[in-house]
């Protein structure tokens, strides 16, 4: 089976500083894959490189199409939704406008209202607050909104950058439960970058570990979770 996302020899640069040193990994269709790593390992940079938001070389293929040299917006239009760190919420607009914006590049405008209702089913709190300015939501609610907005694209692949960041543990559990459901029921492949390794490994089926811009380990989530080194470095037991 060929990979949905195929990354080869990826190198990324911030000015003179090289952040990724020949990263290689695959993501299978329908999989929920996680990238683990410490601060500064290059996790966020990897996601930004996929969406061409940072200068990079190497090859990234999505469903057989090369993504290098495509603009961010045209990569998104191929069906890759990116929930960035800091969530990318349009804070001055209402919750509902944020959801509309998630679907702004879609051609099937008639189906959008139905999808907004589906998001309200996934995240009932968003329905209660649909006329509220998104900036006034709590951190957890904003993260739900960010995921919902990304799903409004009807993406084939969703990139999530540290969805647990700054959230209370209970909220994180809820959110990850919903992510698992979306992955299974809506057939959205997910690539999630996390510092909360334990939770990410419970959820994912495949995992990669990044250190200083290189993949140093890969395997099923179970294998990685049982690996001695990973346990010591990332799980703390």
């Amino acid at each position: 089976m060929t990979a949905m996302l195929h990354v080869k020899d990826l190198r990324a640069y911030y000015g003179q500083v090289q952040a990724l040193h020949g990263l290689e990994f695959d993501l299978k269709e329908g999989s929920l894959t996680t990238l683990l790593g410490a601060n500064g390992a290059g996790k966020t940079t990897t996601l930004r490189a996929i969406c061409n938001m940072v200068r990079s070389t190497g090859s990234i293929e999505f469903e057989g199409k090369k993504l290098d040299n495509k603009s961010t917006e045209s990569i998104v239009r191929l069906g890759i939704a990116h929930v960035p760190q800091g969530r990318g919420t349009f804070t001055t607009m209402t919750v509902e406008e944020n959801l509309q914006l998630g679907a702004i590049s879609r051609k099937d405008t008639k189906a959008i209202d139905g999808d907004i209702e589906r998001m309200y089913d996934h995240f009932p709190v968003l329905k209660q607050r649909h006329t509220q300015q998104a900036g006034t939501l709590s951190g957890g609610e904003q993260q739900m909104l960010a995921v919902a907005r990304a799903l409004m694209l009807r993406p084939r692949l969703m990139l999530l950058d540290e969805p647990s960041f700054g959230l209370a543990p209970l909220v994180v559990r809820d959110l990850f439960k919903i992510l698992g459901k979306i992955n299974r029921e809506d057939k959205v492949s997910i690539l999630v970058v996390e510092q909360n390794a334990q939770l990410a490994l419970e959820l994912a089926d495949k995992a990669y570990v990044i250190e200083t811009g290189r993949i140093v380990m890969s395997g099923t989530a179970e294998e990685i979770a049982n690996n001695e080194d990973v346990r010591k470095s990332y799980l703390g037991y």
Partner: protein, 292 residues
């Protein structure tokens, strides 16, 4: 009392023009965070095109619509050719770009149509409006056109997908790209709309100030003042700012001895500075509510 009413109404009428200029300025400011110093010259050039079309026998309203379309296209072309390459350049480069555009448009207009003043027709006539001596039909027309324009813009930004995308691109360009919005074209669209709105201002004020290459200089400064009063981020604010500046200008010119016509322009500048010092976000500037 009649003098007062008269001055207020006349102020609202010229305020309508300032409002249009302020709308055009806000449109571009929202898109690229810079004030377009050449906005007035672009409007003047559009007005000359309208005049030329009418010289060739095109009826007023046909020329009006044609000029709107041509100005929109012109705005888009200026952005693509001149300001898109400058997108990541520092502020001073932009300022130089705007001044260059100002000088070029002004000279080309002078070269093509020379600097003598020309009559520009009004479609509304200049009879007393509804039999009242206070305001003419042309002045009423200026107010009416501005209000219709504001309404159309409101509907566009509130209820259409393109309007929503433009707002998103203006407030958070990076997030906008991440939902698939082509922010670069949204900026071009903003330029096109600004040029078209400016052309309306030019065509409405030309019967009052007469058509010549320097006719928009003062008007643009009042337009800036109106945009600043309105807070630079809100179209509604720009229009209300325009009306306020128009009335303020007239009342100060009438009632404060020594101001008269000659010192009216510094009033606009004083207003800009006062607003920036006292209330930097203007009367209707976006206040961002944020949970900390």
């Amino acid at each position: 009392m009649e003098l007062f009413t008269n001055q207020v109404l006349a102020g609202i009428a010229t305020g309508a023009i300032y409002a249009c200029m302020a709308l055009a300025v806000v449109m571009i400011y929202q898109a690229i965070d810079h004030l377009n110093f050449a906005q007035g010259e672009m409007a003047m050039f559009s007005t000359f095109i309208a005049w030329q079309l009418m010289q060739w026998g095109v009826p007023y309203w046909v020329a009006f619509v044609l000029v709107l379309i041509l100005s929109f296209a012109g705005g888009v072309i200026i952005e693509r050719a001149l300001f898109k390459p400058l997108a990541k350049a520092p502020v001073l480069t932009h300022v130089a770009g705007f001044i260059a555009l100002f000088a070029i448009v002004n000279s080309v207009a002078g070269l093509t149509w020379d600097f003598t003043i020309k009559q520009f027709p009004t479609p509304f006539g200049s009879a007393p409006f509804l039999g009242s001596q206070l305001i003419s039909t042309h002045q009423a027309g200026m107010i009416g056109v501005t209000l219709v324009l504001l309404l159309l813009l409101f509907v566009f930004f509130r209820y259409t997908r393109v309007g929503l995308a433009m707002r998103a691109a203006a407030v958070m360009p990076e997030s906008a790209r991440l939902v698939g919005i082509n922010t670069s074209w949204m900026i071009a669209l903003g330029w096109g709309m600004a040029a078209a709105i400016g052309s309306i201002a030019g065509m409405l004020i030309a019967p009052v100030v007469f058509l010549e290459p320097n006719m928009m200089g003062g008007v643009l400064i009042y337009g800036f003042a109106a945009a600043v009063v309105g807070g630079l981020s809100s179209p509604l604010g720009a229009v209300i700012g325009g009306f306020l500046v128009g009335v303020f200008e007239n009342l100060v010119g009438t009632y404060i001895p020594g101001v008269g016509n000659e010192l009216k322009l510094p009033i606009a500048l004083a207003l800009i500075i006062t607003v920036l010092v006292v209330k930097p976000h203007g009367l209707f500037g976006r206040t961002i509510v944020k949970r900390v």
